[in-house]
Every structure is written in structure tokens, then in C-alpha cells.
Amino acid sequence: MTLTGKRGLKFYINIYGKILVQDFKSKMSYRADFIISNIGMIISNLVGFVTFYILFSNFPSINGWTMYEMLFMYGFSLIALTPLQCFFDNNWNLRYAVKTGDFIKYCFRPINIFFYYISEDFDVKGLGQMAFGVGTLVYAWKNLAIPVTFVTVGQTVLFLIAASLFMIAIMNFAAATCFWIQNSGYIMVIMFRFKDFAKYPATIFNKLFKLIFTFVIPIVFIAYYPSLVVLRPDKVPLLSWLSPVIGLIFFYLSYRFWLLGARKYDGTGS
């Protein structure tokens, strides 16, 4: 954890825990909202599965990828998107905080401003998505007869963490644009839609767009490259092995970009 500076990891974990408890208390006072949001998340995932099912009932394989391999990537992408949903959901409110001037309160605390802002919201809905993802992954794993060893499971966990960094970075960039462009919510909406295509293999793109979706809007790192390590271990491309490093770089850049915007912020005076 290089991002936390001199304060150390323990200090920040401690604070996160305290903020989390308050967040839970305030959320539980809106019990109906809590339950309905979770149902909404489950239904949206179910609809995703129905879409997937309809597609594959018409076409048995896509570009040399079998249904179970596609399911593996699907499950992988759902899990990889969970940390974004759970820990970084407050990015969606950033543009309101900036516009109304509420953001100024974050500027006066003696802790990392990015950490403080992001820690204020833990979104429980993400856990339902994660359950879906794990179920799908295990189901596909079984049917693909991938051996369950210390190495394969370890690799899966490591590369899931790496994969999760990419979408977080994309959304950090998208959210931080509101420091410069007022009401830039549409940028987040557009970027968030791209995640729907994360579950498809990168081999469907031509060279130019493969490059774009690898290095400009890196959605192919959310499922395709990292999952190849386990899915097709006999020929893993270099980018798969590098994905944890690239993920960290992407995340760090997005963090600096976010801070750059926050430093530029000078309130609305209200």
C-alpha cells in the first residue's frame, strides 16, 4: 500500500472500519431501499443470464470459444467488477458533491482525500453480484474440468484482484472529469456501459480496436486476459502475465488524476 503515505495501512484500515459502521447504520435506517436495491441487483443479473442463454441457444460457440469458456469469463468479469461496486460506488455522487459545494468538507480532513471520499460508501449490493459470479465461475470450472490445485485457485484469486483494478481505474478517471467539466455524469454512464462487453473474448476485435480496448479503454483486462491464465494455461499471452502490473499502473494513474482534480477544486462558496 504505497498510496497511503506515512500514516500506514493499519491507521487507514482502522478508520475505514469506523466509517463503515456508520455507513451501515445509516443504510439500515432505509431498510426498504436496502432490500429493494438488492432485489434489483439480483434481477439485473438474472436478466444478464437470460440474455446470455438466448444468445447461446442460437449459437453454440463464438469465435472458437465454447459456452463454458464464455461462462467462465462471464463469472470472472462479475467477480472482478464487485470491488468497484462495493468500495468505489461513491464516485457516482462526486459530481453532485462538487456541484453543490459539499466536496469542501473532504478538503479539511487530515487524511488522504481520495481515501476519505471513497470510504464513505460501502455498497452491499455488490455482494449479490459476487455470489452470482462465484456460482457461475464454479459451474463453468467444473464443466471445463480445470484441476483444482493450490496453483490454479491462487492464480484465479490473484488475477481477479488484478482485473478488478482496471474498471476501478476507468471509473476513477470518468468520475474525476467532473472537476473540470460540470455535470459530467454522462461520461460515467458511457464508461460504465462498456463493462457489458468485458465478458467477451478480445479475439473478436480487429487489430485497431483490440489496441484501443487494451490500452485506451482497457476492458479486455477485466475478464479476457487475466482469465486466460487459468482457462488456457498452455498458451498464455504476455499481456495476461503482465495484467497485475498494468492494473496497478492504471489504478495509480487514475488516482493521481483524481487528486489533481481535487487539488484544483476551490469550492462554490455556499
Binding site: 431501499d33 441487483m41 436478466v47 453454440p60 459530467s184 458511457i190 464508461m191 462487453f197 476485435f205 479503454i217
Partner: protein, 269 residues
């Protein structure tokens, strides 16, 4: 009904949309990338299927359908549920309820201004580009006229569904979940994410009669002159089904709203 006061609202809605020009352009650009993704996905899907025609649709047909569906989605989409839930939470809704016109009318005519702008800024350019790229595969005759009739009804149905969902939010004071469910169900069952022709037979039979497909599938099928949507083969019955849903959802929405209005609790103002 004094149309003039409503048209003033429509003009306001149009101006508001024009105010966020940058947003419109970025959205357009984002859509372009999104369409590229759709293109590659379906190209790969068709390449793996081994035949040119699947469920009576060629790759070209499917792409034209999905691209226009996306354009139609951008054109019809309004953030009624979000806006209203924020107004309920902040109390600002009171100002609209006090106006000497019905809240539903007020909302409808303001959002329609946004829709009109989106039609010219997103749908029309997409339609022209698609038609040029496919060497005029979309006929330009009476189908355009029927399409406009159909799309207006689609707009009313879409608004009515949004309004009903927004009214539900009055009770639950929760928006995210309900809106999420609505969006997913509408997008799937309307054929906007996968053409209805690909649905399994049993599912398609049910979906055929639901209002959701009247939003995207019916106007598009009319525009593309699909079998069963041309003059003499069933155009009238499709349009009548749309009209039926327009009236039914409009009435249900109005009744639901007026009952719920008595229960509204506004925090502050």
C-alpha cells in the same frame, strides 16, 4: 386543453437539452464506440454460426436493427425516475405540484422537448449514416410515415412506464433498485439488446403481447418493413396493439398517480 402553455414547456425542454451540447457530443461519440463493440460481437457470432441467415436475419439485418435500436434508446431515454426521486427527496416536487396544470402533463410536455432534440441530434444522424453505409437498405416511402406514428406511440408508452415506476418510488422512497429492474426488463423484452427473432418460441409468444416490445421492436419493424409490419400484412394490428397499450398504460398511470398523490410525504422544501 390550452396547448400553448404546454408547447412553451416543450420549448424549454429543448433549450435545456441544447445547453448541454458537450454532453450530447460525448454521448454520441461514446455510442459510436459502443456500436463498434456491437458490430464486432455479432460479426464474430455470425462467423461462428456457419450460416449467413439465422432466424431469418442476416448479419446486416441484425446490425441495422441493433444500431437503430440503440439510437432509438438514446432518443427515447429520459431520466424521469431519477429526476423525480431527487425532487421528492429535496422537496422541490412541491413547486411542480402547485403549478396550475397537472403534474403528469407538465412532465410529459417538458420531457418531450428533450426527446425532440435527441431525435434530431442522435436518431436522425444515425439513421442517415446507416442508410448510406448499407446502400439504402431502408426503404424511404410510406413506412416513414407509419414509423413516425409508431414512434410517437412508443414515446407515450415509454413515458407511461417511467411514470408508473416513478410513482412506485413515492411509496418505497427507493429508486436505484426499481429503476434498475425496469431498465433491464425493458431492454431485454423490447428486443433492444437481442432482436426478438432470436428468442425461444415460447418466450417470444408471450413477449409479443407485452407493452415493452411496442417501444423498440414495433417502430423498428415498421421502419425496416419486416414481414408482418407492412400495409396489408398486419401493420394495422401492430399499431392497434400499440394504441391499446398507450391508452391502457396512460389510464393506469393517471389513476395510480392521483391515488398516490394523497400519500405523498415531502420532506421540507
Amino acid at each position: 386543453m390550452n396547448l400553448k402553455k404546454y408547447l412553451a414547456l416543450t420549448r424549454l425542454g429543448m433549450m435545456e437539452k441544447l445547453h448541454y451540447r458537450l454532453g450530447t457530443f460525448v454521448t454520441l461519440f461514446g455510442n459510436l464506440i459502443y456500436l463498434v463493440l456491437i458490430y464486432f460481437l455479432w460479426k464474430a457470432i455470425y462467423a461462428s454460426s456457419g450460416s449467413d441467415v439465422v432466424n431469418g436475419m442476416t448479419l446486416n439485418d441484425t446490425l441495422v436493427y441493433l444500431v437503430l435500436a440503440t439510437a432509438l434508446f438514446n432518443f427515447l431515454e429520459v431520466f424521469l425516475v431519477w429526476d423525480m426521486s431527487r425532487e421528492i427527496q429535496s422537496g422541490a416536487i412541491v413547486l411542480k405540484l402547485l403549478k396550475p396544470m397537472s403534474f403528469r402533463g407538465y412532465s410529459f410536455w417538458s420531457y418531450i422537448g428533450e426527446n425532440i432534440m435527441s431525435f434530431f441530434l442522435t436518431f436522425l444522424p444515425t439513421f442517415i449514416i446507416i442508410n448510406i453505409l448499407t446502400n439504402g437498405s431502408i426503404a424511404l416511402s410510406f413506412n416513414l410515415l407509419f414509423f413516425i406514428v409508431s414512434v410517437i406511440m412508443a414515446l407515450v408508452i415509454n413515458f407511461s412506464i417511467d411514470m408508473i415506476v416513478a410513482t412506485i418510488c413515492l411509496y418505497t422512497e427507493s429508486t436505484w433498485g426499481i429503476n434498475m429492474v425496469k431498465e433491464c426488463i425493458v431492454l431485454l423484452l423490447s428486443g433492444a439488446s437481442i432482436p426478438l427473432a432470436f428468442f425461444p418460441e415460447a418466450l417470444r409468444k408471450i413477449v409479443q403481447y407485452l407493452p415493452f416490445r411496442c417501444i423498440y421492436d414495433t417502430p423498428l419493424s415498421v421502419l425496416l418493413q419486416k414481414n408482418g409490419y407492412t400495409w396489408g400484412t398486419g401493420l394495422l394490428s401492430s399499431l392497434l396493439l400499440q394504441l391499446g397499450w398507450c391508452i391502457a398504460l396512460g389510464l393506469v398511470g393517471a389513476a395510480f398517480w392521483s391515488i398516490s398523490l394523497k400519500k405523498i410525504t415531502v420532506n421540507g422544501g
